[in-house]
Symmetry: C2
Subunit: 329 residues, 2 copies
């Protein structure tokens, strides 16, 4: 069994590869070629949760063990921490345990990358609302998936942006133009792709129809993950014909999908799995004057797929620490 | 975070300590001072299962990840393989991952050890039916918990016994008298403590009332773990006044507990948690001419407790491999 640290994971997978892995994972998902038990959420204390997400795909059993502890905000410990465990599907043998915190962010970026390649490969500008860890990998994915020349940033806490830019420069090794915007409206005005990566309970872009009608921006929402959270406003949904999502379960899990369907801002039939678009199972004709909206809630299948890719790469590059867990007397 | 191999686990915990840890765990259980979500069982293929067992106790979140793959019998891979993960309950931080296969056997032995200390500390003989991995640690626990001078062994497949004895000599470093018995009856005749450690679907000791009436042997059943399995016969239950078990959930999980209650071989009120005996919450008066029956099905709480003990010992002895899973950009 091999143990892979954050450093090993980082060496093992580039964003470009991660996007390809997620594209393959979408195909697996469309084919139904996997087993994915329901996620388990256990309350540890107040808002602090312990999460188990497993799936079986190809010849591997994957398990993501994660903690989401908002109370860590006061402790200088990351809110989300994750590990991915892999076992051989035929024998149950442990294959790898890897740090899953950064990998989760890479994977989420890569899923957005798949959507950007599908819908907005020619975009030259991207705007990011919410400049946390997720945002870093969202921008990396945008750079890989479109012809980005300009990045626009907005964060409610302005002081966070400077260090975010420094981190991003280091991570991307890119000198792409980056600009801090004074308002969300200014960001919307300049960006062909708009990514929201916050944990907001209320929309982070204005609920103003004129902002979304008669234009063809791609909106990518990655932040909300439960029923109480929502990043996107009613008028955006009303302006779009289709709403692309990554997971059927998202319809039960996430406010950004639950609310538009329940409130009839979108017809349920127009809420379409990106996987069905990629495989051609569904075909849509997007008009040039309507916004495109994509929301990722992710799923265990994606974690297992990216984890398994990292495992193979790590073996190839001889990364990680070997440990013998085998039974002996 | 530290990673502990089988070798590290073995160095970190002696059976004597494990018995004390389980005694403490029983106390925690009686106090209700823990959180223990339902176990998750997922079918991988036919009889091969993937299991997740978590519990929160003291300042730790523990998770046992196990595979039970009977199909491995044809592959020279252990049927059961397990890992235990520990995270800090206050911050969610990963603390340790350890091999849990041997530790599961040690823990199960230690639970039996608690029962032996409670009910049969003066016994000089122990008989073991089923000479697999579990049996090794059952005998180790009996040696620690009573004044054992003679060990009697029975296994359906006789050829397995020789290598079992060799393994046990190595493990125990003891020259206690060990004898292979030609029949279960002969073993019953000689043994004050009788331990069954099989995965049988039908009782492994005879259903003959005369064998159990008017004597005070201690029967310890450790093998059965699901509703279809049973090691102990009707007449044993009918001969005993009380039936001691380790887990309330066992009443739903395990044939050796379900059947005696459903068939009225035991009154449900006489099925008593060992933890309630240890804390004095229940008191019983055992007659000198009745058998005592104890059944362990175990539970996630026990795994977390023994895992946490091993973690502390490993830190004290500087065992294991350190790995940095912390998030960084």
């Amino acid at each position: 069994m091999i143990i892979l640290s954050e450093k090993d994971v980082k060496r093992a997978v580039a964003m470009k590869e991660a996007i390809q892995v997620m594209k393959d994972a979408f195909i697996q998902y469309a084919r139904g070629d996997y087993v994915m038990p329901a996620r388990n959420f256990y309350q540890v204390e107040d808002e602090d949760y312990f999460l188990l997400m497993s799936s079986f795909v190809k010849d591997v059993i994957g398990l993501k063990v994660a903690t989401s502890f908002p109370s860590n905000r006061n402790r200088n410990v990351p809110v989300t921490q994750a590990m991915i465990l892999l076992m051989h599907r035929k024998t149950g043998k442990p294959l790898a345990m890897m740090s899953g915190t950064m990998l989760t962010a890479i994977k989420t970026g890569a899923v957005s990358g798949v959507a950007i390649q599908q819908f907005k490969q020619d975009a030259k500008s991207v705007g990011l609302i919410g400049t946390g860890q997720q945002g870093l990998y969202q921008l990396l994915a945008a750079l890989e998936s479109a012809n980005i020349k300009n990045i626009y940033l907005y964060n409610r806490s302005e002081h966070k942006i400077k260090s975010f830019i420094e981190q991003f420069r280091r991570l991307s090794n890119s000198d792409v133009h980056i600009e801090q915007m004074g308002s969300v409206e200014a960001l919307l005005d300049k960006s062909e792709i708009v990514i929201t990566a916050t944990t907001s309970f209320t929309p982070v872009i204005p609920d103003v129809p004129e902002l979304y009608q008669n234009q063809d921006k791609l909106f990518v929402a990655v932040g909300s993950f439960d029923a109480a959270m929502r990043e996107l406003p009613e008028s955006l949904f009303r302006s779009a014909t289709y709403y692309f999502i990554d997971s059927e379960d998202g319809k039960k899990e996430c406010g950004d999908i639950i609310d538009p369907i329940r409130n009839k801002w979108m017809e349920e039939d127009d809420v379409i799995l990106l996987s069905d678009i990629l495989t051609g199972k569904r075909q849509v004709h997007l008009k040039s004057n309507e916004p495109i909206v994509f929301k990722t809630v992710s799923m265990a299948l994606f974690d297992t797929c990216i984890g398994y890719f990292v495992y193979h790469k790590a073996k190839e590059f001889n990364l990680g620490q070997k440990v013998d867990l085998s039974f002996m007397n």
